[in-house]
Symmetry: C2
Subunit: 199 residues, 2 copies
DNA sequence: GTCTATATGGCGATAGAC
DNA sequence: GTCTATCGCCATATAGAC
């Protein structure tokens, strides 16, 4: 681990903030995680608010760019959607707390959302057309594609966000079984979306 | 407003906790909301933790009992599902922050989940069969009904939890238009579930 | 740049008058 | 039961030695 001090702080903050959110995180905890003193956090980032914004902006931008990247390949619209579902479930599985973290923070302080959008390089107009073009071209049933996008994202994110409850009442708290359930969802969600789009 | 002091505290706490969560809420803020002094909160509930648990337990139990009630009427399984979707969207629309609040708190401290389940009168076994029977009997495609339950809840909850982001990028921040979108989802989600269940 | 020590403020909780 | 005043703690932030 020969990364710079600033990078160590940033990485530690990223882990702690994602797990506990802005309010739940403690500067001391981040310092411990980074293996250094609390004062250094302020030396490099001046305030907790600053550190949080730096981290949040990056997480937000990275997740958006990953989504964008998935949709920018050179295959048919339907194939893009299928690839997106596979990749997105893998992406959340590798970062299970990120989507809920983003949802929480945009609800906690919706004001930051606009600047996040701009600074992340994700112009609203580009985001708007994301998904929608893919869906429109295959949408035999002429449904407002925004309903399909929202349904799709809900189906993908909820099993991760609601995991403690779902795993307990439907899987007798068997984490292994629940992991398998999450991977099964790739096929399930693809089938569901296809059936809906193709009328 | 001739309710008792304890009720006033409880109601105020409920509003504040739902909006800000356990960590974001301040006892002073709850006292202001209830129109009284901070010390009275401790006189009646001894600690913030106690007050929070009392509120959370009730919210959790009430949401579960509403869901249960919807599924206990005397109609066919398919009709029950359709009625459930209508009622659940109305229920969230009237309490838009509640589902995310529940999700946050069970993730923040999963230990409380078990006692919540028991004290809310919702035995896991009863919860398990909830939905599943309804879906199984109509499930021509023989899909694991848990996938359908999770998909359904995700489709219903996500448009509320992700509202700030979705409303901004897909509705140009037009709240009125977004409200209409939420009501349209009753038909959309019903169609989606039906198509899936009926193969 | 990195540390220890400390200042400053806010919050949960309590004491005690009425 | 309800209030004012205050305690004690913990978290962010800063001062200052090295």
């Amino acid at each position: 681990m020969d990364s710079s001090t600033e990078e160590k702080i940033y990485d530690a903050a990223r882990r702690i903030f994602i797990l506990k959110g802005m309010e739940g995180a403690r500067m001391q905890e981040i310092a411990d995680e980074a293996g250094m003193n609390k004062a250094l956090l302020h030396y490099y980032f001046r305030s907790k608010e600053n550190l949080f914004k730096a981290v949040f902006k990056d997480i937000f931008a990275k997740f958006f760019s990953r989504v964008k990247g998935t949709l920018n390949s050179d295959i048919t619209a339907k194939e893009k959607l299928m690839v997106f579902i596979d990749n997105y479930i893998d992406l959340i599985a590798a970062n299970p707390y990120v989507p809920q973290f983003i949802i929480n923070e945009i609800n906690r302080d919706p004001k930051v959302l606009k600047s996040m959008m701009l600074e992340s390089g994700a112009e609203p107009q580009m985001i708007l057309s994301m998904f929608l073009n893919e869906i429109q071209s295959n949408n035999a049933s002429k449904i407002d594609p925004r309903h399909i996008v929202v349904s799709l994202l809900g189906m993908l994110i909820f099993p991760f966000a609601g995991r403690p409850l779902l795993q307990m009442i439907y899987f007798n708290d068997d984490a292994q079984a629940y992991n398998q359930f999450l991977m099964e969802r790739k096929i399930i969600v693809k089938n569901m979306i296809l059936k809906f789009i193709e009328g």
